[in-house]
């Protein structure tokens, strides 16, 4: 698998990252080196080995269905660029 400039542009757009033109090729090179390194792992035989989700042997912890949070509008809105009547206010996002 090889990452070209068009793929970098696409990934950047999907991630909403602005990448300057002169950084496109260097990033493509970096990503390719990372992928090549990961591909080395393909040399390890893994037939019949279950995917490992956790090295600790822990199971997914669950909580009881109880209300233990919320009612902190001020904290939730503390970083809002703008607010009105308890809502976040953002530039219009509908067409």
């Amino acid at each position: 698998m090889s990452i070209d400039k068009a793929t970098v542009e696409k990934i950047a757009r999907l991630a909403r990252l602005r990448v300057p033109e002169e950084r496109m090729m260097p990033i493509a090179g970096d990503l390719n080196r990372i992928l090549n390194w990961i591909e080395e792992l393909n040399e390890v035989p893994t037939d019949g080995v279950e995917p490992l989700a956790s090295v600790t042997g822990h199971k997914l912890p669950m909580r009881r269905d109880e209300i233990s949070d919320g009612d902190i509008q001020e904290k939730v809105l503390a970083n809002a660029p703008e607010e009105a009547s308890g809502f976040f206010v953002v530039p219009k996002v509908v067409e």
């Binding site: 997914l60 669950m62 109880e66 209300i67 509008q73 219009k92 996002v93 509908v94």
Partner: protein, 483 residues
Amino acid sequence: MSNLVTGRTGEWEVVIGMEVHAQVSSQSKLFSGAPTRFGADPNQNVSLVDAAMPGMLPVINEECVRQAIRTGLGLNAQINTYSVFDRKNYFYADLPQGYQISQFKHPIVGEGAITIDLKDGSSIEIGIERLHLEQDAGKSMHDQHPSKSYIDLNRSGVALMEIVSKPDIRSAEQAGAYMKKLRSIVRYLGTCDGNMEEGSMRADVNVSVRRPGDELGTRTETKNLNSVRFIMQAIDYEVQRQIEILEDGGQIDQETRLFDTNTGITRAMRGKEDAHDYRYFPDPDLLPLEFTDEFVSALQAELPELPDQIRARLIGDYGLSSYDAAVITEEKETAAFYEAAAEGRDKKLVANWMTVELFGALNKAGKSLGDSPVSPHQLGGLVGLISDGTISGRIAKDVFAEMMETSKDAAVIIEEKGLKQVSDSGAIEALIDQVLADNQDKVDEYRGGKDKLFGFFVGQTMKLSKGQANPAMVNDLLKSKLG
């Protein structure tokens, strides 16, 4: 019954698959302890997890897991004791995480099937592809300000079950019946309140058309339909639109469409070329969801009776008609009302009084069963008094009308108004003697061979008794007297 649609150039088959989002009934959210209660102030039901503050970690709500499994069992589906949460990545103002936690490759529930009932009395099976757990997003309001959108994250992180059907649905009617059946099942189970107006259940419909026997056509997806009527309207519109395009030699674009509830038409959402590039990957904040077969069996053992089972019992054990049984079991509350009213009574008579008299009267009064002035016990009481001959069916209608007005017991009304059926043969004979004496001419005609007059004598006797004479006894005694 054929479901083919006739166009200008021949017949078309409609193929529909549905994705239904059902909000899980739980106190708190899927991955946080914030409440799910409807109608709170904006951003009141939001924790720092739901607002996606850096460093916050999701912890799964065990009740949501149980509810998803119970729903899967109600859909006769495969329960997967190993499932995985993935991140579905996209950007929108009401999705603070920048991804929705969902399940992609390994959903908690796999294939199943439900039976739907159609107007012509037939039943068909609709396959279930899967059910998975996921987070709801927040709510955006675009009509508060000319250049701004207002965001409320109260719904952000609320648990949803996405129930995906197989493309087994062939008409708008079937789609409507499928939605109603799903709603009925989750409400019996108590896993979702089924309240479509509040958005607790909503559907995306995938529609395509093809010539019978052809490969599947290109489909469109119409999103966010929140009533059975809108689902059916959107499908009807989409089918006609696609057939017209194809018959004019055009082709269907695979796209997402929105339904305008005012005009009843669908329109394409404007272009988002990357919209479907969600780059799913397993959520590194969450281990796989695992539970034992015993856990599932315990939930299975505690499942309530579901509508199909109750219906089979009403038909098989109680002898109700398939129609009455379907009417009574569609809503959980109706079935519970019926069962309470029919306890120890004539089952068919109770069904009849409930579906005809009670529903008719409630309908007329603009009331729902929940506001019924007549309780299940009272309806059962009335039917009991008919069964044991205390009142006739005709008097019972007057008593019932009075019960609707006053919420009094039937026995009380009968006592107060002296409506008790007269079954004393001496009293009835006296009435008959008077009727015959008053109508000597008719008696002669009857004896002269005019048999039809018998009904006249019955009518007159009943009238004289103010409807209280036992009709069977009036018949018998009249016959012997006129002999």
